[in-house]
């Protein structure tokens, strides 16, 4: 399964997270101008194949996977970010496909305030290991 689909399954299936940001506001990348807040954008910045001598192996690594959280206030953003980190951290993430995903939260960066949409944001960087 593609990593973006798998991450969406994990996020949208996490009731603690969807209580803060509904599943229908979790999008695979894109702009936030016409989206109701709060919202979550997620996408794989890079994806790496691993090889043994006879070819590509099933194990994959998404070295940089960004999940961006936007909301009206930074307080709200941080609460959603913590729920995202909890949902996407650990072994065999709950809600992930059968073959399982292991996630590591690597860093959090503040995103610039969007004056048009009046949204604060945090960019969360993750690393995922999964099978394909």
């Amino acid at each position: 399964m593609e990593i973006e689909k798998a991450v969406f399954l994990v996020l949208s299936g996490n009731s603690s997270l969807t209580a803060l940001c509904p599943a229908d506001r979790i999008y695979p990348d894109g702009e936030i101008q016409n989206v109701e807040l709060p919202t979550i954008k997620h996408f794989a910045v890079s994806d790496r194949s691993l090889y043994e001598h006879q070819g590509r192996v099933e194990l994959r690594q998404s070295e940089f996977y960004q999940v961006s959280v936007y909301a009206s206030t930074m307080l709200e953003v941080r609460a959603i970010a913590e729920a995202v980190i909890a949902a996407l951290s650990g072994l065999n993430l709950v809600g992930s496909p059968e073959e399982g995903i292991t996630g590591f939260h690597r860093s959090t960066a503040r995103l610039g305030y969007d004056e048009d949409v009046r949204a604060c944001g945090l960019g969360l960087d993750f690393e995922f290991w999964y099978s394909n």
Partner: protein, 159 residues
């Protein structure tokens, strides 16, 4: 033809029981890395004092360094490559001498392979290379125990 260079992927490795007739090879799959083998002869001096001021040497006995293989681990001894990896671990415990074969492609299309073979035994396994955020690796060390180191002419893979 590989003039102009080629990268090292496509290597194959395997082993078989030393018996008569020879058994089929068991291929070692999920091979990440092969280190070695170095063949180095002892440097023996045969210098004698004479009008020449140059020392002279000849090559003595040849030391074949250990073969080290890194394999993507499958810890499940009952499935797939896990069966082979469990058998390799068992070879360390038994100390049995088996026949090893390493093949490398001779061209970029990997249509033919050059084989290197010798008898030897497993003297080291590292089954617990388990980085927290990286692939599990199984590392194997084989020591040379043969009267010759065989280098075949290029041909079809035997693995």
């Amino acid at each position: 033809m590989a003039d102009g260079g080629m990268i090292g992927n496509g290597v194959k490795a395997g082993y078989r029981i030393v018996d008569s007739p020879l058994a089929a090879f068991t291929e070692i799959g999920q091979l990440l890395n092969v280190e070695g083998i170095d063949l180095n002869a002892d440097k023996i001096s045969k210098t004698t004092h004479s009008t020449s001021r140059f020392k002279r040497h000849f090559g003595g006995m040849i030391e074949v360094s250990d073969l080290v293989m890194e394999i993507l681990a499958n810890p499940d001894e009952a499935s797939g490559e896990g069966v082979v990896q469990a058998a390799l671990h068992a070879l360390l415990i038994s100390g049995e001498n088996v026949n090893w074969r390493i093949e490398k492609p001779v061209d970029r299309t990997q249509s033919a392979y050059k084989g290197y073979s010798f008898d030897g035994s497993v003297i080291g396994v590292s089954p617990l290379q388990v980085p927290m955020d990286g692939p599990q690796v199984f590392r194997l060390t084989v020591v040379f125990d043969d009267s010759t180191f065989t280098v075949d002419t290029a041909g079809a893979s035997e693995l």
